[in-house]
Symmetry: C2
């Protein structure tokens, strides 16, 4: 074996990175050593002659970053563009749950994501989506059953079962839900679950969670043996709240993840590197931050070939300029330079096949499609919590006009609707949402977790209708309307979820839409991400699907009228 011969110094390495301070994740030390690479693997640390030489000039050499839980689809980028966005930030591996595309296109969609993530400068591991649909209250394009999950698990990059979002079903011991625990490696999703319910969830075999939003919640989960996947998503910014856990109990059993990030956040601020930057700014030792960004993510997923700069491991390496900005000067994947100074080196990519492009099948909407008859004194209202996935469930007296419940922009109440868009059922769920700040117009998206029907928020029905019509025309995406006309759009023709454009263009369009919404009064920094989670029926408290309002805590459909 050539690697062994290189390691012992009898054959020349392919590449030697010399003059770096090399992190040992096993001792939290910085070692002064050459790192010799052969055949894409790390041969050894020490003194090595020969091979191509890279002078690190005293920079900090660390393992490639690993995102312990991400939905690539949330980036609105194809896997190739996602790679181009995150690799310059030092990410060389992600563990993804492709349940977004699974909801739209079923097993074939997941298989396309796997094909589309071949031969990237990034290893994309997959967890088999366990909850497609997320619950019985959602109407996806396709469901994924245990047999589909088994098919996904046979893929060489499959690691286990993705987040068991139907936590009420797990805790209740629902046999149909438990039948999806078909691996001994099962990710969790248990927002706010504690006490004996948490014991039950863990006893079912779930071993991680990325939904903790408070120190106390994360501590209880960690005490009971869960991997705490500390999340910093576009609108679930839990990092700073959870860092006290690391300060008080050390970084063990914690790893970083991003779950759902808008492309602008990835492009402007970064990925796992950004989490390291924030953590260190908040007083975490750089070595501890790096452990959560590398080894611990690998350990959480049983990835034995990465997560450290050590002999016999994959040469996924990041050369950092410093330990405050965590800016990567160079990124190596399997021993090859794949990004330098913020830019990914070119790589080949496959074309997007036609079958993932034509997924808009909503029934035609009539002029009254979004009308809500006034039938009770008080109604349920979803209140958004800026920067969080959870919502509050309000009960309020609605504004009524001509026998219909209408938006009350002065009181920050808009109308919200979810239009089924996969099977032309014509099913529409209608309700009210408080907190966006929208004063005029409407906005809509076919990114609407998890079933990815069309979700529309507006203060005027004509704008809501304009949004819906335009989304049908462009094959899905995000649109903003005002004065009865569409004012801006980001087409997402790939499954209604992803653009086929470069990340720069997607970010530019998205930011233009966000600016437009700010002009229309919206205060949320990531309004489309917030919007997209209002349809997710497995995160408390009150959500909406095409079937109506969902009380997530009671886990049942509830009427608008109280």
């Amino acid at each position: 074996m050539s690697l062994i011969a290189v390691a012992r110094g009898d054959e020349p390495p392919d590449l030697v990175i010399e003059g770096a301070r090399v992190l040992s994740v096993f001792t939290r030390e910085w070692l002064e050593a050459d790192v010799a690479i052969s055949g894409g693997m790390i041969a050894g640390l020490g003194t090595y002659d020969g091979g191509e030489r890279v002078d690190a000039g005293g920079r900090w050499l660390v393992p490639g970053f690993i995102d312990a839980h991400v939905h690539i689809e949330s980036s609105k980028l194809t896997p190739a563009e996602f790679a181009r966005a995150v690799v310059p930030h030092g990410t060389t591996g992600v563990v993804t749950d492709p349940h977004e595309i699974g909801n739209v296109l079923g097993l074939e969609g997941v298989q396309w994501m796997l094909e589309a993530s071949e031969r990237l400068p990034l290893d994309v591991f997959v967890m088999a989506p366990s909850c497609v649909p997320a619950s019985a209250f959602e109407s996806p394009g396709f469901a994924l059953g245990p047999a589909d999950m088994e098919a996904i698990l046979r893929h060489p990059r499959a690691l286990g079962v993705a987040e068991m979002m139907n936590f009420p079903g797990v805790i209740a011991g629902d046999p149909d839900v438990l039948a999806r625990i078909i691996s001994d490696h099962v990710d969790g999703h248990a927002p706010g679950v504690n006490g004996r319910a948490l014991n039950a969830y863990i006893a079912a075999g779930v071993r991680s969670d990325h939904e903790a939003t408070t120190f106390e919640e994360a501590l209880e989960k960690r005490r009971r043996g869960m991997w705490v996947l500390v999340r910093e998503a576009s609108n679930a910014r839990n990092l700073i709240d959870l860092l006290p856990l690391v300060k008080q109990y050390g970084p063990e059993h914690c790893a970083f993840c991003t779950d759902d990030r808008e492309p602008d956040l990835l492009y402007r601020d970064g990925h796992i590197d950004q989490m390291c930057r924030i953590a260190v700014a908040e007083g975490i030792a750089p070595e501890d931050a790096l452990l959560m960004a590398t080894l611990h993510a690998a350990r959480a997923h049983g990835l034995r070939d990465r997560g450290a700069v050590a002999p016999g491991l994959r040469a996924d390496l990041v050369l950092l300029d410093d330990l405050t900005s965590f800016r990567p000067a160079h990124v190596y994947k399997d021993g090859r330079l794949v990004a330098t100074d913020g830019a990914t080196l070119p790589f080949e990519r496959a074309a997007v096949p036609e079958f993932v492009r034509s997924t808009m099948r909503a029934a035609p909407l009539d002029a009254d499609a979004f009308a809500i008859p006034a039938e009770s004194e008080r109604v349920r209202v979803i209140e958004i919590v800026p920067g969080q996935l959870i919502t509050l469930a309000r009960e309020e007296v609605p504004t009524v006009d001509a026998g219909r419940i209408v938006a009350a922009p002065d009181d920050d109440v808009a109308k919200i609707a979810v239009v089924e868009r996969h099977h032309a059922t014509g099913r529409i769920g209608r309700g009210l949402v408080r907190g966006f700040g929208l004063r005029t117009g409407a906005f809509a998206s076919t990114v609407a977790h998890d079933a990815h029907n069309m979700v529309v928020v507006g203060v005027a029905d004509e704008d809501m209708l304009a949004c819906a019509a335009r989304l049908q025309e462009i094959g899905g995406g995000i649109v903003v309307a005002r004065g009865g006309a569409v004012r801006g759009e980001l087409p997402l023709p790939v499954a209604g979820l992803l653009s086929d454009e470069p990340v720069e263009d997607v970010v530019e369009r998205l930011e233009a839409l966000q600016a437009m919404l700010r002009d229309q009064g919206v205060r949320d920094a990531a309004p489309f991400m917030t919007l997209s989670f209002l349809a997710l029926s497995v995160i408390p408290a009150l959500k909406i699907t095409d079937r109506g309002l969902v009380d997530v805590e009671r886990f049942e459909l509830v009427p608008l009228a109280v």
Copy 2:
């Protein structure tokens, strides 16, 4: 699933341990919580009603201890008696390498060990022996090839490949040696290996080591990603020397193991509990010691169902009186009480089959069998290092009498011989050993790592002959002779390695023999363990097999004459 229903409080547990301080290995905290058990598993921590109640009275509840690397055969006990010896000390799991019986009886011997370790109050996991024989310089009863290893790996309790003791072969990239790396979980054995040679060894896929004897050696191995299995064997007492690694860098990537323990040490001082006791006495935090005794051993071997007191894990639990003596008041295995106040509760055991009892097949020895002709001015002498497995290689002027090299008891030099005993080849290796202190008589053993031929040390040929003859008669064991007659013996009829008697009787006989040897001048506290390793050709520096002296550093046979 009943476990989930019990966890959430809807069905009664089988057993509740209440009033304990419960270790969370994930936060190093002591939690005040009931621990509910159902069907042998931990359902949850919290408040639980119903079930059988055990009042822990403020005692300390910790996970069952796991020995990360042990050769059960070294205890000279059958697996059942080994269990009876260690379970009261809190051990509920061991990872064993059955290479001793593998050397004597091949695959069938290993399979018997596996059968004999069924249904014990202890889980015995097995690593497939990788080096039977340990090297080409040894002559076992049987060799184990990769096909035999594959057969062992198919066993449900098999975890991976046992210690790759032929580290020179691994580092050299010998294809026959590398062909034994047939798992991604491979234990190591790399005494004194460092620098690029260590890189090469690790790059081959080896991920642990239990041979480090110094802080520096253990630190280098840990820096490069090896699990440091801190060993406290009968005559490889590395614990105190390695604890500074834990003090300086924390307990991560370290686990406890005992490798080879005489039954007297197990019976008198204990097992993993004794390592905790020593570690804490040396200033290690009890929680850190317990991590190395539990979770880390489980993690080192990928055992996901144990190592913590947490929902969904096996209810292997130890209730400790305190955190200084680490004395277990009660030990639970799979939720059943299996030991209390130092005694194992009775359990059923299988009889030892006849085929493992008849393994002595040495050729008859004539009166000159141990004679060494004087043929050179200077000869090689093995010098033992008390409490260590390594030896020193000396070159000395021998004492000669009537043309023969003889022992020099005044100068602490005895004769040593290894007699092939499996295939009656008549092959005998002869040499000299310094350091036992033996002034008269001889002692011998069929426990002689790893080939387990007959190893004899003496100052008088007649006593050496008496020892060898008696071992042949009793089917193997340990004997002490003086004045031409055998004075004491411990028969080990099971493969020449194990007694079929209770641990108490084995200890009594062994201690009597040790006392006898002290009377004959021997100072070593575990002389038979030391003796048994003088034939192991993979631990430096100078060893002896039936083929002659082995220079382990040069990894070749060397003549007695310099």
